[in-house]
Symmetry: C2
Subunit: 206 residues, 2 copies
Amino acid sequence: MEHFSKSQINEMDKIYRLNLVNSCTGYKSANLIGTVSDKGVYNVAIFSSITHLGSDPALLSFIVRPTTVPRDTFKNIIDNGIFTVNHVYFDDIKDAHHTSARYPSAISEFDMTSLEKEFIDDFKAPYVKSSKIKLGCKFINKYEIKENNTLLMVAEINDIYYDKNIIQDDGWLSLDKAKTVTINGLDGYALPSLLDRFKYAKRKDE
Amino acid sequence: MEHFSKSQINEMDKIYRLNLVNSCTGYKSANLIGTVSDKGVYNVAIFSSITHLGSDPALLSFIVRPTTVPRDTFKNIIDNGIFTVNHVYFDDIKDAHHTSARYPSAISEFDMTSLEKEFIDDFKAPYVKSSKIKLGCKFINKYEIKENNTLLMVAEINDIYYDKNIIQDDGWLSLDKAKTVTINGLDGYALPSLLDRFKYAKRKDE
């Protein structure tokens, strides 16, 4: 196999390292976070770090760099404590990726893309209309990761919306029926097909 | 759309909630963590929470519950500070899932599955031979997530191994060439196909 050592990684061209290290941990989730500013501007931004943290209580986490883009998302969540998480639908990948452009706070990414905002059940933050699975979330806590000055954001999942055909009898959401995509690195979007589902694993030697 | 509220999520049957909440945040990475115990037992266990944390320095993070399975992985990492991360190859999903069975510490999952261990460059922790992208990692720090008594483990990526045909000229690893899978919920394994890669997003209004 080919090999990069720590010293080679450290000495790489910045863009080459970004591409390599962002793709070396495997596929990432593809979600649009919807927020509203205290001035009423609706923000939507792509995130690839949203991760399941626990089921009881239902929690998720994601990583932000407060000193870089997307600052608006971070500020809006801190200011009013709520946000939405919207799976990226396969037909929206170009617009979803465009939300990573550095627009000023006064401009809504909903106005600069074909993504449509949607308001459900009096929740103040905007959902993404085309998304087949969407979550209403409440910010709970943040942890400072001192190794690289990032923040781990922890939030409660308070509402889960989904299209009826997506759910199985045991509560499992079939992401390939939702045509949810996954992210490869910084800029690659891929559509998965289910290979198999397995039962709870039991020892072979008992 | 269909809807579950916070109170409905709280009152669900445990297995239903596990399936629902584990699948509602989107696709997860599929990696096998390889470790060695202080008694020389080689452990390998499936993880779906490994996430890119930063590129410079090259860092990843993942979540563990010290009080539940897989305790061996956690203990081995704390005891000797190193581990490997191995992408799950599409042909190995059944064996990869089986590593979640609760074997005692004295039994190596390499002996209970068809997964083969491989040792590279004097690294003490075992790699998974069939994996097309694998990382040698050094544990750095852990953060206690008090909301649900989990730990965020932070580690440095010191070695990246990959098959030659997988890397692009700009450092991006093509995960669909590696036939790396992704996880849907607790037990669904899916194989992605690349739809597109996009350029760095620039404002449309400038």
